[in-house]
Symmetry: C2
Subunit: 263 residues, 2 copies
């Protein structure tokens, strides 16, 4: 059973995982971060010791969670001082194999969520995607994950990468659409708040009927005069005109394509 | 006071408005649609007579709501048989002036929402954007709109067009991002449902902190190796690779731009 955990990294993801583990009654043995500021901040929060030197990582944890920038995972593993321990990274787009070093027992603990500093999350509703190199580790990791979330899945590195890419569309790119909408409104002294009921309904309908059926607006209606008018107005908004034409064209082609299949 | 309403058009918007008005105790005097099928369907729902001939539009309504395709509004007004009556169209991108004919009293009644057939909405939460040509009509229309929604605003045609364009980004384009995410997942036997908690959190955070602060992911971190990996994987997904690069570049440039301003 996984009871003691060490957190390697002290960013958004490490912090949110650490808090969730503490709330679930787990013991955080130690926190590591390169900078003493972030290491001490998270250690304070989790009431545990910290180090800024990988060499001082303590033995004795049931699980070492590496939650650093993707580009730093490999270096972190190379300098990791212990062997034959269970080590999980939290990255969507990094292969499990990167942890195949020093007789480590490699694992992945990938929470599919958008984490921001100072924005609390309900961890129980966050899907956790697990992978292990050794079968016996999966049982332990599943039981552990089940203690902090009710949505636990086992998938391989290739599926996780696909999942991460789809999440970039559904979360980061969606959020960028909100940003552009806000920017356009603000340039005309209109408030983003007036879009909130529309945004909520957009999500509700996509969940209810699926996004294909839920689509509305000038592009799916192929309403050429409105598309042209909008595009003209956006010519003074830098790359937003390109955005508008590009995404509208994609909606038109996806829907015409499917209509063809239906015939 | 506006009590009797005639609906010109029987599509999604007309239907949802008609049902909301009926539920608010208004009398629907008549429904018009070009085709008897859609005219009779809506008339059945609203328990009122219908016509498929604009010449047979009855006098005596306090408000005639024209809710047809944008491209058909002008033709509809030209063939409208009455004068000196209050006539409102429901279009986001059509100028009020299109109704300046036959001594009509022009108005706009624009509900900012995504309407689909058979998906019920709570009209009270839908923002309604009003415009009138004559000042005395605004009072009437505001009181009327206030009976079916708690969010009533008065804006001009130019602001309404901007609002509509921003809504295309926040709703239609957002929904298209969901569609692409679903398509990518389905091509790898993964289910769109696993993204739902992420999507809900994305919206919650955008509302809480604003979309600029809420942004996360490889683009805003300028995580070049992940961006490159995702883009490579998407090369087998048709135009999704272009999408990925285009939107990621926009996120990077918007955030770098703002960082520059902050210095």
């Amino acid at each position: 059973m996984i009871k003691k955990i060490t957190l390697i990294g002290a960013g958004n993801v490490a912090t949110h995982i650490g808090v969730a583990l503490m709330n679930a009654g787990k013991e955080i043995l130690q926190v590591y971060s390169r900078t003493s500021k972030s290491a001490s901040e998270l250690a304070d929060k989790l009431k545990c010791p910290y180090t800024t030197d990988l060499e001082n990582i303590l033995p004795g944890s049931d699980l070492y969670i590496i939650s650093v920038a993707d580009s730093a995972i490999s270096k972190t593993v190379n300098e990791f001082p212990l062997d034959d321990v269970l080590v999980a990274h939290t990255s969507g787009s990094t292969d499990l194999d990167v942890l195949l070093k020093n007789n480590l027992r490699p694992a992945v603990f990938y929470p599919l969520q958008t984490f921001s500093k100072n924005v609390e999350v309900n961890f129980d509703q966050i899907p956790l995607f697990l992978e292990t190199f050794y079968e016996e580790d999966m049982k332990k990791l599943k039981a552990f994950a089940g203690e902090i979330s009710s949505k636990v899945y086992s998938i391989n590195s290739q599926q996780r990468l696909i999942l991460h890419i789809s999440a970039v569309f559904a979360c980061n790119f969606t959020n960028h659409m909100f940003y552009i909408a806000e920017d356009i409104l603000n340039q005309h002294q209109l408030d983003f708040n007036i879009l909130k009921p529309l945004i909520r309904e957009t999500v509700r309908k996509a969940e209810l009927s699926g996004p294909y059926k839920a689509q509305t607006g000038p592009a799916v209606r192929n309403d050429k005069s409105t598309l042209k008018l909008h595009s003209e107005i956006l010519s003074s908004f830098g790359d937003y005109q390109k955005f508008y034409n590009f995404i509208s064209d994609s909606i038109i082609s996806k829907h015409n394509q499917k209509h063809k299949y239906k015939k």
